[in-house]
Amino acid sequence: MKFAVIVFPGSNCDVDMYHAMKDELGEEVEYVWHDAENLDEFDGILLPGGFSYGDYLRSGAIARFSNVMKAIMKAAEQGKPILGVCNGFQILLEAGLLPGAMRRNNSLKFICRPVELRVENNETMFTSAYEKGEIITIPIAHGEGNYYCDEETLNKLIANRQIVFRYHNENPNGSLEDIAGIINEKGNVLGMMPHPERAVDELLGSADGLKLFQSIVKYWREAHVVNA
């Protein structure tokens, strides 16, 4: 499986993402600059964390208009797996690929530490390797992760089981309904504030993020490789 790690000016988790795919999973992966026009050769798209365009105006607001976004929209339509982590999630929200928006953390502080998450939906291409209700430890690192959407959208998210991860035990940022990660209706675009790519080796404190990437690869193999 061949992944693209999209690099915006100000991305800073691109190398972690690349490392997770290449060294931990042994999959093919390439960095793709934000002005690329075509992503046809890739099977999966990863939008890493960071501070694209300095988070000017709003997090993700300017990145959302980069050239590569048109290709990302196309990939989303084609049903390719698209994962946005942290700033990548914020970009997906700004682009309208996922519903809702991010507010400043209710503490107004930038929070950088491991948190516990509950896997709410393990019937997605991103979470099939987890147990339903599994509690995992993944680090967060953000100042704007306080998810918000209107009531109508929230009801839809709940009814369609689009809330994939919730914060467990404590809500670090004030996020609505303890939401840590959501998926689109079609089920191929996942946005999450916690960083699974920073939890792929016990040496880093947790390897709980690994199953997320393994789920994507398993999904793809089953769909595309004969005798997988």
Partner: protein
């Protein structure tokens, strides 16, 4: 030429954590009269005249980029300036 002032604020229904913190600070300075503080953004745009209707143009910019209408409201004032 136009000078356009754009004000972007969080929607009434959306809790403003910055505003709440500033309100607390004002209260600790004994300004107990303060009921609420909402923090927003102010942008000043200088826009050249074109065949586009200026009102329509600014609204489009607000909707597309300057405000995120999921959580923010915007308003603007347009002033025509004569350049020498």
């Amino acid at each position: 030429m136009y000078k356009v002032k754009v004000y972007v604020t969080l929607r009434e229904s959306v809790l403003d954590p910055q505003g709440t913190a500033v309100k607390g600070a004002l209260h600790s300075l004994s300004y107990h009269e303060v009921q609420d503080v909402r923090i927003g953004k102010f942008m000043e745009l200088t826009i050249e005249k074109s065949e586009r209707n200026i009102d329509e143009l600014v609204r489009e910019m607000c909707e597309k980029l300057l405000a995120n209408t999921v959580i923010e409201d915007y308003r603007y004032e347009i002033e025509e300036v004569v350049t020498q």
